[in-house]
């Protein structure tokens, strides 16, 4: 099963994924290995943060995907793959590599079993109607594809409470306030994933 993190650029998808994995007790992050015999590079959470997190949009062209176990302390048993995707830009991007990565990310979205739609709780929707249009279209698609939740990142900041209330009204779906930096709301996120995971398993 795959839970896919989607959202616009720079909302904090990568940092959220890495820190959430660290919260779950994963010590080495690496791509989900398609060939068990091949050694793929892995990173510690600190290395991954240096590599995948930046203040500039569309840095993550080959996003992380990490297999995690939601059972406490268990390294065996059923795993869930948490997959990062490149941020969905508001317009067409000039670099072909970015476009290719975005298209690949949309492909993963279509195949997702669970969708975490990450939004920036500090962004004011009035100032950027284009960005709001992307989020609205993404949410409309996501909730149709698979069990989805809106993850309002940067919830530790001032004004986030108002923003989150507004999000709940606008989107009409579950909204989880989290903070990738302070790890606020990680328990709720884990519970949501666990419940959906249990419900979706045959």
């Amino acid at each position: 099963m795959e839970a896919v993190f989607v959202g616009r650029p720079n909302v904090g998808k990568s940092l959220l994924l890495i820190n959430f994995c660290e919260y779950l007790g994963i010590r080495r992050l690496g791509p989900v290995d398609p060939h068990p015999k091949e050694r793929m590079p892995t990173w510690t959470p600190a290395e991954a943060r240096r590599r995948f997190v930046s203040a500039f949009p569309n840095r993550v062209l080959e996003p992380l995907a990490v297999a995690v176990s939601l059972v406490p302390g268990g390294h065996s048993g059923p795993t869930l793959v948490l997959r990062d995707t490149p941020g969905i830009p508001t317009g067409t991007v000039a670099e072909a590599a970015v476009r290719q990565a975005v298209a690949a990310g949309l492909g993963h979205l279509l195949g997702a079993s669970l969708i975490l739609h990450v939004v920036d709780a500090t962004a004011d929707p009035e100032t950027d109607p284009q960005a709001q249009a992307v989020d609205a279209a993404l949410w409309a698609l996501a909730r149709h594809l698979a069990p989805s939740v809106v993850v309002a990142n940067k919830a530790e900041t001032e004004g986030a409470v108002v923003a989150i209330r507004r999000l709940r009204e606008q989107l009409g779906g579950p909204v989880l306030p989290v903070s990738a930096v302070t790890r606020l709301g990680f328990r709720d996120l884990k519970r949501w994933l666990w419940e959906q995971f249990q419900a979706a398993r045959p």
């Binding site: 317009g91 991007v93 476009r99 298209a103 949309l106 992307v134 698609l141 149709h144 594809l145």
Partner: protein, 343 residues
């Protein structure tokens, strides 16, 4: 900076993507904004719900072949005929299921078009499509030309042709430059091959599909002078020459499939070059093979350029093809390729 921007819709008026795969493809090409892509994907989900029984059972291998066909640049008339063919075959199957009379007549075809317009590629996809639809059990493609059919002494030709047809049973027999079978006049052994083909088309009518391919004018003459063949051909697919814009799109697709990227300048220059060539000479102008050779040579020249420049190389450098790599008039190595037209 001049030249087409990724956001430009170069392929004519705004069309709607037909499949989710096409949406992703267009995003990659920069023809579709991500937000539009999301809307299209949402619309498609509404039409084809992900869960629950659909109105028609999905047919993965046929769908895959169809997708591959739709991915090909241009070739609209060909795609239209193949779509019709698919619908026809599927409805005939349905009729069969409920005990109605079916008319699954033979599906032998003629492909007419200049060299490098995608005839072999389409034949290969078609073979798989027909397999997916349950018309052909094996769905393989046997490619042949005059030399594979025509023998050296009396009796040899019939034997060679029969052998070839035996190999093609369950799949598609693709005869390139088919008109050359009739070119030698009445005493030529090509006649014998044609007679053997006509007989096989009758004897094994449901067991293989014959595709006769060649230049449009020659094929017309060939079918007119061999009514036995012509009357047994059900479908006639016309492969138009590629326009310069389509050739650029082909180059882009080839480059991407090989995990390279074209700079914007290279794309713009290539478009300008092809435009100029097209005006000067018709005939080879719409040739996909020419573009393929160009791209393959550009990849070699990029390697030489980078090796001379010395490392370390960034990922981007390793992927980027510039116009200096692509330029058909630069570099001395070019002559060997004889403009990509088979001699």
């Amino acid at each position: 900076m001049s030249g087409p921007r990724p956001g430009d819709r170069r392929d004519g008026p705004s069309q709607r993507p037909a499949s989710a795969r096409e949406v992703l493809f267009w995003v990659e090409e920069g023809r579709l904004q991500p937000v539009e892509a999301l809307t299209h994907l949402r619309r498609m989900q509404a039409v084809h719900p992900a869960v629950g029984p659909g109105p028609r059972p999905s047919n993965p291998s046929a769908d895959q072949a169809m997708d591959e066909l739709e991915r090909l640049v241009g070739l609209e008339p060909v795609k239209a005929v193949v779509r019709e063919l698919r619908a026809f075959v599927e409805i005939q199957r349905r009729r069969q299921e409920v005990g109605l009379k079916t008319d699954l007549h033979t599906l032998h075809m003629v492909f007419s078009g200049s060299p490098g317009t995608g005839k072999t590629t389409v034949a290969r996809i078609l073979a798989r499509l027909l397999q997916g639809l349950g018309v052909l059990p094996r769905g393989h493609l046997v490619e042949a030309e005059r030399a594979d059919l025509v023998g050296e002494y009396i009796g040899h030709t019939a034997q060679k042709t029969r052998e070839l047809i035996r190999r093609a049973l369950g799949g598609v027999l693709f005869i390139d430059e088919a008109y050359s079978l009739a070119r030698g006049g009445d005493k030529d052994f090509g006649r014998e091959a044609i007679d053997a083909l006509v007989k096989a088309m009758e004897d094994y009518r449901d067991q293989f599909v014959l595709v006769l391919a060649g230049y449009p004018t020659e094929m017309e003459w060939f079918l007119a002078t061999n009514p036995g063949l012509g009357s047994r051909v059900a479908l006639h697919l016309v492969f138009p020459d590629y326009s310069p814009a389509e050739l650029v799109a082909i180059a882009r697709q080839m480059v991407r499939d090989r995990q390279y990227l074209l700079t914007r300048e290279a794309e713009a220059e290539l478009a300008r070059y092809l435009e100029r060539r097209g005006e000067q000479s018709r005939g080879w102008a719409g040739n996909g093979r020419f573009v393929r050779n160009l791209v393959e040579r550009a990849i070699r020249r990029q390697a030489v350029r980078l090796a001379q420049h010395g490392g370390p190389y960034s990922r981007e450098q390793l992927m980027t093809l510039t116009w200096s790599d692509l330029d058909p008039e630069g570099g001395g190595e070019w002559r060997r390729y004889s403009w990509g037209v088979p001699t």
